[in-house]
Amino acid sequence: MSDDYSDDEYYYDEDEDMMDADDGDSAPSDEEMDMEVFDNDFKLPGKARKKSYEVDSEPLSQAQVERLMQTDIEHISGIFGVDENVASLLLRHMSWNKERLIEKYMDHATAVSVEAGITPKEEKPAKAAASSRAGSSSTGPQRSTRSSKSSNKLKSPSPAPKEDEPYTCPICFDDTQTRTMALACGHAFCSSCWNAYVTGKIREEGEHWIRCMAEGCGLVCPDPFVREALGEDKATWNRFRELLVRHFVGCNKNLKFCPYPNCTYTVACPAAASKSALLSIVPTVTCGASPDHKFCFGCSIETDHRPVICAIAAMWLQKCHDDSETANWIKSNTKECTKCQSTIEKNGGCNHMTCKKCKHEFCWVCMGPWSEHGTAWYSCNRYDEKASQEARDAQSKSRASLERYLHYYNRWANHEQSAKLSMDLYKKTEQKMEEMQISSDLTWIEVQFMKKAVDEVFKCRMTLKWTYAMAYYLDRGNPKELFEDNQRDLEKAVEDLSELLEQPIEPEVVPSLRQKVTDKTVYVQKRNEIMLEDTANGFLEGRWQWNTSVPGLE
């Protein structure tokens, strides 16, 4: 990328421009094209090379994440020489932090096993530690099973030996049940109770860490046990697996679960895993399930807040949330005291103002000190006096900062509003396209240029919106001026295209309109790319200077 930021260089120097233009011309007449891949059409040349505003990310299906988990499990299982189910429990207990697990397990294998719910706690004869709150008298019968089984192996659990003698489950008191199950602790309960318990934990509580049903027993059900307890209930088993995956993803900084409802995809984006990385990149990623599942890997503020980084987007939204309406009102209804800068609302009465806070007396009309008005206050003829001039200077300073904020806010909000309206335009466009198919002899594929153009306008308006948030915080200087040049070019291009789209469509003008719209769309897209790319490069180079302290920077 050249070091020169003038747009001429950008626009004409690159070979891709030519290709893009070619592509744009021929695109509508291209053969069979799927709608899904359609908007990639314009980008085709760029695909070969990674853009600086794009981040490397990889969508992962649930099965792929499970494979990652399996690798970790096998690794741990190999090192410790334990069963894979045991390794899985150990890892889950340690939030999938392998290093910490290895370190801890090497030092205190038994203690870690107990904490992870793999081996039962050493039975203390007097049970002195048992809390007095837990009434233990009624749970006596179950306790006996625990002490009778003393040899507990660190092994995947098997159902308790089937006894021929009549068995009464201590939970449901059913004596007709013959099948019982127990974890390594030996607390046996009938399989239908286990089923109800495990199902409830998974379905209602969304829990993957399922403890033994016995009171105070810390053992946790390993996966095969859960599966056995669930029996034929495939749906709940799948939910359990999803919970495991979610836990794994939640523990891993490189991974994020797709936030769209019912989506089971995960996105891996190691580039954006650390907080410091988020200060130089905007990790907008897409999950593998659908191209619509776009989200920011770094924050949950908005799905796509390019080109500004998460911290600044958050700051801006916070400011808007706090200020915008209030600021508007303050601007139109108040003035500041010339001495202490308190904001004052004049709600009636004469122009002789006394500041409630500092008791400064001044004239509301000229903002000069009241003392100089003498008896001639009514006509307020002191407009050019030095004192009132100074007072106005002080006021205009604080007023200016408000004006400045409102300048950016209004443009930011306007683009958001326009982007929303362009969704309405979308519907109208669709109708138009249908009409055109009927009224002219154009084919479906040939009228798609309208749809693409609307898509592009929407995308660019989102970019523009956030450039205003960025510009608000940018410090004055050459970089900002270049930024604003890019912003202006993009804005102008977008407005031109928007206007074209609003024009009435007559069959006769369709060919020329199509040409114009397609050309303009390509140009707008190019401008958007320049905007995004230059901003992203600026972040990577540390070119941007801020007029405020950005959390995390410096």
């Binding site: 709150r133 837990a134 009434g135 008298s137 749970t139 449901c172 008191f173 109800a196």
Partner: protein, 221 residues
């Protein structure tokens, strides 16, 4: 038969047969899933001599979900809401185990009365009272036991009979002299009790809270 119903029936029957624990279970209406349990206040505590009633609801997924319990009888205790009777006890939440029963849970409640846990309070005002002045707290708890749970009259020892009239000052665990003092300034008695209770105007705190502070609170609408 429905496993839940079978289990609940057995638990109720077990409780009837067991006379030693003095725990009682009664049906509230026709449903066996809405019960009223009661137990005597533990000996050697301010709750001794009272009988405490608990509203019990058995959830659909019982015994895999914990019982829903709250005190019907008003109890002055850090882990029980003095207004609603809601109970803060781990086994009624995440530490529930399906092997726990109606009886064992009621026994747990009984032992909760023996050993309050003011660090994990349900009623912050009561917990503060407990932490500042144990003896004053116990006096109030005893008074509540007398008034609400049919316990012995704490004043009976002194010869004077309470006469059944409720002493609002004692109910709030405050000193009569303090209430009189602020009432004499012209504030309504109910308001004074309310403010002093909220400020925890008891024991060593009395010296820490200035009169101005109390008056300031009293003047708030």
């Amino acid at each position: 038969m429905d496993a839940r119903l079978r289990r609940v029936n057995k638990e109720i029957a077990d409780c009837k047969n067991d006379k030693s624990s003095k725990i009682q279970l009664d049906l509230v209406d026709e449903s066996p899933f809405h019960l009223k349990g009661s137990f005597p206040g533990p000996e050697g505590t301010p709750y001794e001599g009272g009988r405490f009633e608990v509203d019990i609801r058995i959830p659909d997924s019982y015994p895999f979900q914990p019982l829903k319990m709250k005190f019907i009888t008003k109890v002055y205790h850090p882990n029980v809401s003095s207004a609603s009777g809601a109970i803060c006890l781990d086994i009624l939440k995440d530490q529930w185990s399906p092997v726990l029963t109606l009886k064992s849970t009621l026994i747990s409640l009984q032992s909760l009365l023996c050993s309050p846990e003011p660090d994990d309070p349900q009623d912050a005002e009561v917990a503060k009272h407990y932490m500042t002045s144990r003896s004053s707290f116990e006096e109030t708890a005893r008074y509540w036991t007398h008034i609400y749970a049919g316990g012995p009259d704490p004043k009976a020892k002194d010869g004077g009979s309470g006469g059944g009239s409720r002493d609002e000052v004692a109910m709030a665990g405050l000193e009569k002299a303090h209430v009189d003092q602020f009432e004499a300034l012209g504030f309504e008695r109910g308001k004074v009790i309310d403010v002093l209770r909220r400020l925890n105007y008891r024991g060593a705190n009395v010296t820490k809270i200035t009169e101005d502070r109390v008056v300031e609170e009293l003047l708030k609408p």
